[in-house]
Amino acid sequence: MDIAESRRGDIVILKLGGRLDSGTSNEFQERLLALIDGGEKRLVIDLARIDYVSSAGLRAFLVGAKRLKGAGGKIALCSLKSNIKEVFDLSGFSSLFPAFPSVEGAVSNV
């Protein structure tokens, strides 16, 4: 997988690409936790280029969200393909992570 980082004001946008599975979720999780531990409080994860999320990938989101909640921050997802949205819906993660059709929508909601 690949991770591209950009900023809009104090919002960090992580754009992920490829597969988020047991082989790659650690890299994503470490990146996420490093940002949170570095004091970032507003995060947007752009999943437009993610083709697959396994349960290990979901766990990385959850670990990040919990750390962020403890720090008083907010996270939002955007641009989920239909199969990725299905994974979030089936696992009940949709009730934990607000998801928006576009980066703009997510940015204005974190």
Binding site: S55, L62, V63, S91, G92, S95
Partner: protein
């Protein structure tokens, strides 16, 4: 029953030490003495001298040299032939060999290298150069020995781990309920993955009219995931969650969510589908904690079977405190088959790497079975076909309940 479990191999934790050991093979005692003196100040180098080339292989097998110095011109045995013998001898097959000759001869050198020598020195070399070469070749060889040892230890420890996982999988299997025959019939398959996932499931009558059924899937793999799965399943089996009505799926899931926060479970969480069948009202109440929907297949008298996906929006168990787990209900009319399963059943990639879609899986489950083949065998057989393999990355559990 007392059982002996072999401990992990000791070599996993510590690499074996190999002292720098030189074996010099030369018929001239004077050379033996000269080299011995050159190495006298090198406390960490052990030196062995063999004046009789016919005994050289035997001595090498005894002292395990990390480098062999060998004269090329000796009586009774041709030096190049001895190089060949050293290479054919298993214990010295990879031991670095420095051949010693009285003169620089490109042709002899090439021949020696061709037979497996690693280096070539003209007698008598400068002590500084000799020691440097001895250290250089020994270091490389010791690294090779240690790498081989580490590899063997790794293979051993993987075997050990695989045996433990197989034992844990057998334990999980022993806790699964036998298939039922009667008013409510059940059939199931449990196929643990090579690394053992955290699937488990169960069903039982709460009273003569209410039948509880559930399947859960712990995130992650290994014995830890299996243990969490078993703990949760045992609470459902023995109905020991505090202040919980086991007739109310939403209550059961909320209680599990309070009991198993992921922080207390080594960051593992699980998904579960829990339902209760009321045989008098012909109705199923159910709730899902992040689990894929159970599939209720109704055989129609004609045309394709009807499939209902019994899903609720509850989140994974142990992920977040104080989230709500709504229940839902579904009325049964005629003959129905309910399928509980873990995502290991449909989260599979075919040989071309393309993932199966959930809809493809639903279509498979609701499809007709040929005469003489059980529905479960048909589904499992097709999943195997799609994967093109009998090993699974994730546990694979599917339960069929016929009402």
């Amino acid at each position: 029953m007392e059982r002996q479990t072999p401990g992990p191999p000791a070599a996993v934790s510590a690499l074996q030490e190999h002292p720098l050991t030189v074996l010099l093979v030369d018929d001239q005692a004077m050379i033996g003495e000269a080299v011995r003196r050159m190495l006298l100040g090198e406390r960490d180098i052990r030196f062995h001298y063999c004046a009789d080339p016919t005994r050289a292989i035997g001595m090498a097998n005894e002292v395990s040299p990390t480098v062999i110095l060998q004269d090329l011109v000796m009586p009774e045995v041709d030096g190049l032939t001895l190089v060949k013998f050293f290479r054919a001898n298993p214990a010295t097959r990879d031991t670095p060999m420095i051949v010693l000759s009285s003169k620089e001869e490109a042709k002899v050198k090439a021949e020696a290298f061709g037979l497996g020598a690693n280096d070539y020195l003209v007698k008598l070399p400068d002590p500084i150069e000799l020691i440097a070469r001895i250290r250089y070749h020994s270091r490389g060889y010791i690294n090779l020995l240690q790498r081989n040892e580490a590899y063997r230890a790794l293979v051993e420890s993987q075997k050990h781990l695989a045996a433990e996982l197989a034992e844990a999988a057998e334990y999980v299997r022993s806790l699964l309920p036998p298939p039922l025959a009667g008013e409510v019939r059940t059939d199931w398959r449990f196929v643990p993955s090579t690394s053992l996932g955290g699937d488990s499931f169960g069903y039982h009558w709460l009273d003569p009219d209410h039948f509880a059924m559930y399947l859960l899937d712990v995130s992650g793999h290994g014995v830890g995931a299996a243990l969490l799965s078993i703990s949760a399943m045992n609470m459902l089996r023995s109905q020991t969650l505090p202040d919980t009505s086991f007739y109310e799926p939403g209550e059961v899931l909320s209680a599990l969510n309070r009991t198993f926060p992921m922080e207390n479970q080594n960051n593992m969480y699980f998904t579960i589908w829990y339902g209760v069948y009321d045989r008098v009202k012909r109705r199923i109440v159910y709730a899902s904690g992040g689990h894929p929907p159970a599939l209720l297949v109704t055989d129609a008298a004609s045309g394709p079977a009807r499939v209902r996906q019994l899903r609720t929006p509850g989140a994974i168990i142990g992920g977040m405190p104080d989230v709500a787990y709504p229940s839902a209900a579904c009325d049964l009319e005629d003959s129905h088959k309910l399928y509980l399963y873990s995502d290991g059943v449909y989260e599979i990639a075919g040989p071309d790497g393309a993932m199966w879609t959930f809809d493809e899986y639903v279509a498979l489950v609701s499809g007709p079975s040929p005469p003489g083949v059980s529905d479960i065998d048909r589904v499992v057989g097709r999943v195997r076909e799609v994967r093109g393999s009998d090993t699974y990355e994730d546990d694979f559990s599917i339960v069929q309940i016929v009402f």
